[in-house]
Amino acid sequence: MTNKTLSRFVTFAQSSYNSCAGELIIPRMTEQELISIRVVFFAKARELAAVSSITLPIPSCTTPHAALNNSVLPRFPALKPLIDHIILAVNQSYVSEPTRYLQEGDELALIPPISGG
């Protein structure tokens, strides 16, 4: 790693440390900055949302599950009956527990089961 990229990395790590205090706690909704994520809908979720993907501003320090419940669902209430039955994936990887915060530019995918054949 060159000095330049290292210093950029350190700056980034510090800024995310500062804004999220390192711990997985419920952030105060005031003094929050927004980040934007990409939300991608598959199969029935695409049909119910009537869109295949959107860019969505969410508060920083938001877990994937919180983003789903607090940002995606209010915008697409038709997804409600499906929400407990989907695979939630961040950047093409399944997330089972809310153990991380979404970062700027992350892709959140909603993948419901298909049963036809």
Binding site: K44, S52, L82, H85, A89, S115, G116, G117
Partner: protein, 398 residues
Amino acid sequence: MNGDSNPSINASDVERYSRQLLIPQFGPSGQQKLEKSRVLVVGLGGLGCPAALYLAGAGVGTIGLVDRPNDVVEKSNLHRQLAHSEARIGTNKVASAAIAIQMLNSNVAIEKHESFEPKNAVQLASSYNLVLDCTDNVASRYLVSDACAVTKTPLLSGSAIGTDGQLTFYCKTADSPCYRCIFPKPPPSSCVGSCDSAGVLGPVPGVIGTLQALEAIKFLSCMNLTEDLDRRMLLFDGSTCTFRTVKIRSRVNGCDMCGESSQLEIPAFDYEGFARGGKSIDKKALDVPSHCRITPEEFAEIRRSGSSYKLIDVRPSQEFDMCHLDEAESWPLKSMEQSAGMDRIAEGTGRLIIVCRRGNASQTALRHFLDAGRTNVCDVIGGLQAWHQVIDNNFPLY
């Protein structure tokens, strides 16, 4: 093969399988492994047809075939279920697929099974090296997965509807998830269309079923490729012709089926009830008085008598455009249930007859009319499907 001749592949087979024998990672040893393999294909529809045909073409030794006992080839299957044929409409799907496989490759031993049910699922799964889930409904998907989880039989699970498809491996290794690990609760029925109700473009299950066969051939021939669909799910969006894969989770310790403290007894489990568990149809909505329902024969009599009535067809508009009775007026249930529609319901007093595809949506609509205080309204039992069966077989069945 680099000048080697392999004594256990006979000359005729070398010719038949030459194009795949030329693939370095496959070769004669892959062919021999395929010939010793036993694969069970559950469901001989849009996925099972291409999957079974490609497996047969490749020379899988034994192919087991199973579908619902009463599932016969219908005209509406032929746009996607290409192992069947016009001449075999009305034939049991297992029998029809067996004929197609035999015609393609008579080397293949075919085992025809009458049903895949909770009482025989475990025994069936345990006698195969690999199971392909090519079924078309939620209950069967849980049953196939449970049987594979308990017998530790690798399961390649494909699915398709509309223009979307999915494919993944379940139960491949001790760390692999089963279907319940990924989808512990079945989705409500309103969120799971079937190809019968929601439609499907034929090549979409064709793509997924074909990839199912490809993954099966690679697995059974032990091709040492670095990555397969274990803990990865392939997503196919046919509307944009896009493939993606997502990493999915490993086995869940607390899984109802493959978890350490699982007590699920497959033969005693009510799969149909479980699949209906999330059912969103309001029970009360379907609770319509029987005197408000008429048979297709009674409706035919009303039509003949020349008495006045208004026929309301509550199917979605594209189904209405496909076919409808001449006097019918289109009023899709969906728009009826919007507030403007609910206002209109209370209007008028003349006789109303409601019809839909199968006699379910018409009951929901009937309930709305009754709740709005309308009298002199009824629906047709069995809908247009029953109309086709009992009154007019020229009316399209779909």
